[in-house]
C-alpha cells in the first residue's frame, strides 16, 4: 500500500484544506509548555511573562476551506498520470507503482532471452561466409516460421516465459488495490472507474508489449540492418512481419484481458497469477492429451495460447497445426477477451472504496 501512497501528489485536483490558528503562533505556545515542564530558569524573573499567556490552555482553530477553483486538467492528462505511474514503476520505484525486485528481474531476463535471435544474427554477420554463418542465418534469420516463433513459438518462450511474465506483471494490478483499499486514492479524485480500469489495462499491456512486441520489432529491424537488406527484401517480408506483429498484439491483448480479469476477481495477487498460469497450462495440456487419445484438435479452442497460435499461423501464412477451422479459434479469442473484459468491468464497478 505504501507504493500507492505516492499517487497523492500526482492527482492534486484539490488542495487540502488549510487551517489558521486564531490566537497566537504555535511556537510560543510550545516554548511555554517546555519551560513549565522542565522548570527552566530560576523561576521568578520570567514568571510574569508565562502567567500572562492565558491562551496556553487551549487553542481554537478556525477552519477555512479554500476550494480549489483552477482549471481541471483534461481527462487524458489525468489518465496519463495513472498510466505513467504504473509503467515507470518498472524502472524506478520512487513515486511510482512498486514492482517487486523479483518481478523486475524476471522482466529483464525474459526480455533479454527474447533478444537472443538478434545476437545470433549479429554473430552470423560477423563471421560472414562459411557454413556456420549460413546455419545461424537459417536458424535465426527472418522467415515466416521464425517471425511466428518469435511471438508464439519456441517452446520455453511461448509456454513458460510469456505466461510467467503476464502472471507476474498483471497479477497484482487490481488485486493489490482490492486488498489494500488503495483504489480509494483514485476514486476520491476526478477519475472514473472506467478510466481507472482502462489505464491499468493499458499500462499492463504496454509492459507486456514492451517485452513481447518490442523485442519482435527489434528482431526484425536488426535482421535488416545487420544484413544490409534492400527494398526488395523489405517489400517481400513486410507483410509477414505485419502479420506477426498483429499476432503479437493479439497475444498481449488476450493475456492482459485474462490476467486483469483474474486480478479483479481476487484480493491476492498470487491467486491471480497462479490462476492465469493454471488456465494457460491446464487448457493446453488437456487439449494436447485429448488430441493424443481421441485424435481431435477441437479442444484446443479452449486453450487461449493455441487459439492465438492458430490465428498467428494464419496471419504469417504458415500451415496450421490444427485441424479445426480457423473461425473457431478466432471466436475463442473473441470470447476469451469479451468475457474477461466484461468480468473486469463488473468487478471494478462493484469495487468498494473502503478497505475490503
Amino acid at each position: 500500500m505504501l507504493d500507492e501512497d505516492a499517487n497523492v501528489d500526482e492527482f492534486s485536483g484539490q488542495e487540502p484544506p488549510t487551517s489558521v490558528p486564531i490566537s497566537q503562533p504555535e511556537s510560543e505556545l510550545g516554548q511555554t509548555r517546555m519551560e513549565v515542564a522542565y522548570g527552566a530558569g530560576d523561576g521568578d524573573d520570567d514568571a510574569k511573562a508565562i502567567v500572562a499567556r492565558k491562551a496556553s490552555m487551549g487553542v481554537l482553530y478556525e477552519q477555512i476551506y479554500r476550494p480549489w477553483d483552477g482549471e481541471l486538467g483534461p481527462r487524458w492528462v489525468r489518465n496519463y498520470a495513472i498510466f505513467r505511474h504504473h509503467v515507470y514503476g518498472i524502472f524506478s520505484g520512487k513515486g511510482h507503482r512498486h514492482y517487486n525486485p523479483f518481478v523486475r528481474l524476471s522482466i529483464l531476463i525474459i526480455f533479454l532471452t527474447s533478444l537472443t535471435p538478434i545476437a545470433m544474427i549479429f554473430l552470423s554477420v560477423t563471421i560472414s561466409g562459411g557454413e556456420g554463418s549460413d546455419w545461424l542465418n537459417r536458424m535465426w534469420g527472418v522467415n515466416r516460421y521464425n517471425l511466428w516463433g518469435q511471438v508464439l513459438g519456441y517452446f520455453p518462450r511461448n509456454l513458460c516465459m510469456w505466461p510467467l511474465l503476464t502472471a507476474l506483471v498483471v497479477g497484482g494490478m487490481i488485486s493489490d488495490d482490492r486488498k489494500n483499499g488503495t483504489s480509494a486514492i483514485y476514486f476520491s479524485r476526478p477519475v472514473t472507474r472506467t478510466d481507472y480500469t482502462a489505464m491499468k489495462y493499458l499500462s499492463s499491456a504496454v509492459v507486456l508489449g514492451f517485452v513481447i512486441v518490442f523485442s519482435y520489432m527489434l528482431y526484425y529491424t536488426s535482421a535488416i540492418v545487420f544484413n544490409g537488406e534492400g527494398w526488395a527484401y523489405l517489400i517481400d517480408t513486410l507483410p509477414i512481419f505485419l502479420g506477426g506483429l498483429l499476432a503479437g498484439i493479439l497475444l498481449v491483448i488476450t493475456y492482459t484481458s485474462i490476467g486483469m480479469a483474474l486480478s479483479s476477481v481476487s484480493q491476492s495477487r498470487f491467486f491471480a497469477a497462479i490462476g492465469f498460469l493454471a488456465i494457460i497450462f491446464g487448457t493446453k495440456v488437456v487439449a494436447l492429451m485429448i488430441e493424443l487419445i481421441f485424435d481431435t484438435t477441437i479442444f484446443y479452442i479452449l486453450s487461449p495460447y493455441d487459439s492465438l497460435a492458430h490465428v498467428g499461423q494464419w496471419l504469417v501464412g504458415i500451415p496450421a497445426n490444427y485441424e479445426h477451422s480457423l473461425a473457431l479459434s478466432i471466436i475463442s479469442i473473441i470470447i476469451y477477451n469479451a468475457a474477461s473484459i466484461g468480468l473486469l468491468l463488473t468487478r471494478v464497478r462493484s469495487l468498494e472504496v473502503t478497505r475490503e
Binding site: A37, G39, G43, D44, A47, V51, K54
Partner: protein, 313 residues
C-alpha cells in the same frame, strides 16, 4: 512442578535490538503476583518485552525466564500463560465459541473439555450471549474481550495483555478493566501494557515504566512518586490574594519558586514534595489568607512519566 521460588516473569540484563534500533535496553525485572501495569509511550518497548516473554523474539543479550524456563527454547511454560496479542486480526468466519474452544484444544483438552471451558470463559468476559455469533460481526470491545477469553481458557497463572484497552469505547473499557481487576484479585500474575496512563491508574498501583527501551521506574505508583519527590513539583493553591501568599512561601526552605497562575491561583515550586507539604499548613495559617483549594497537578501518572521521560531523554 510449580515452584514458588521462581518468579513468573524474570528478565536478566535483557536487551533486544533490531539492527540499529534498540527495542529493549538492558532490562532486569522480576514480576510475580498481582496486576502490573507496563507503561510507556508508543515505541517504548512494551510489545518487544512481551514478545520476548512469549518466545517470539530471541533476546540479543541477557536472559528471559518464564516460570524459570527460557521461552525461546521451550513452549512448556505456555501451559501456564495466557497471552493477549496486540494484533487486531481474528478468524472472522469463526464463532466466538469456536475460536476459544479451538485454541483451548491446543492445550491438549478434549473437544468436550474445551467446549465447556470456552463457555465458562466467555461468560466470565461477558460474551456468553454472543458466543455463537461470528467474530466478524463483533464490535471492537467484543473482539478485545474474545482475545482475553482465549488467553484465559486454560486458567493460566500468568496473563499478559498487550494493549487490551486499545480502541475501546468507555463502556467496553470499564468492563475489560473490571475483568483484569478480577483476575488480579484471583491471585494471578497479570501484565497489562498501555500508553494511556489513566487506564492503568484505574487498574493497578504496581507499575513498570518503559521509555526508549529503558526501564525508567518499577514498583508501586505512590512509592515511585515518593522517590520522585526530589524532582520539581508544583502545588497549585487557589486563593483570593496569591501575591500575598507568595511572599510567605518564598521564605520557606523547600520552596524554590512561585508563579502566578492567573488572578486567583498560586503555583508553588518545590524539589521536595513531602517537606513542602509539611510546611504548607503552617504557612497558610501564618498568612491568614483564605485558601479555596490545594491541588497537586503533578501527582498523577502522566506527570510522572513526563518528568521521567524529560529526565531520561
Amino acid at each position: 512442578m510449580s515452584t514458588k521460588a521462581t518468579p513468573a516473569v524474570l528478565l536478566e540484563k535483557c536487551s533486544k535490538w533490531y539492527g540499529q534500533v534498540i527495542g529493549i535496553n538492558d532490562i532486569s525485572l522480576a514480576i510475580d503476583g498481582g496486576v502490573t501495569g507496563i507503561l510507556g509511550p508508543n515505541g517504548a518497548g512494551k510489545s518487544t518485552l512481551f514478545k520476548l516473554l512469549m518466545g517470539r523474539l530471541k533476546p540479543s543479550s541477557g536472559n528471559v525466564r518464564l516460570f524459570g524456563v527460557d521461552p525461546w527454547v521451550s513452549t512448556s511454560p505456555y501451559r501456564r500463560v495466557g497471552y493477549v496479542a496486540e494484533t487486531e486480526k481474528l478468524y472472522d468466519w469463526m464463532t466466538g465459541h469456536d475460536f476459544v474452544s479451538t485454541l483451548a484444544r491446543l492445550h491438549g483438552m478434549t473437544r468436550e473439555e474445551a467446549s465447556e471451558r470456552a463457555s465458562h470463559v466467555l461468560d466470565f468476559v461477558g460474551l456468553g450471549d454472543v458466543e455463537n455469533k461470528e467474530i466478524g460481526k463483533y464490535s471492537k470491545g467484543m473482539r478485545q474481550r474474545i482475545k482475553i477469553a482465549h488467553a484465559l481458557v486454560h486458567d493460566p497463572d500468568l496473563i499478559i495483555l498487550d494493549e487490551p484497552l486499545h480502541g475501546c469505547d468507555p463502556i467496553a473499557r470499564t468492563s475489560i478493566m473490571s475483568v483484569i481487576r478480577d483476575l488480579g484479585s484471583q491471585g494471578k500474575t497479570v501484565l497489562v501494557s498501555s500508553h494511556i496512563l489513566d487506564e492503568i491508574e484505574r487498574i493497578t498501583e504496581q507499575i513498570v515504566i518503559l521509555h526508549n527501551g529503558r526501564l525508567l521506574a518499577l514498583g508501586n505508583l505512590h512509592a515511585i512518586r515518593d522517590l520522585l519527590d526530589k524532582h520539581p513539583h508544583r502545588i497549585l493553591i487557589r486563593t483570593e490574594n496569591p501575591r500575598k501568599l507568595a511572599e510567605y512561601f518564598v521564605t520557606e526552605d523547600p520552596v524554590y519558586g512561585v508563579r502566578f497562575a492567573g488572578e486567583e491561583a498560586l503555583e508553588v515550586l518545590t524539589n521536595d514534595l513531602s517537606a513542602a507539604h509539611n510546611v504548607l499548613p503552617r504557612v497558610i495559617v501564618d498568612s491568614g489568607l483564605k485558601v479555596t483549594s490545594i491541588e497537586n497537578p503533578d501527582d498523577n501518572l502522566e506527570a510522572l512519566l513526563r518528568y521521567l521521560v524529560g529526565g531520561a531523554s
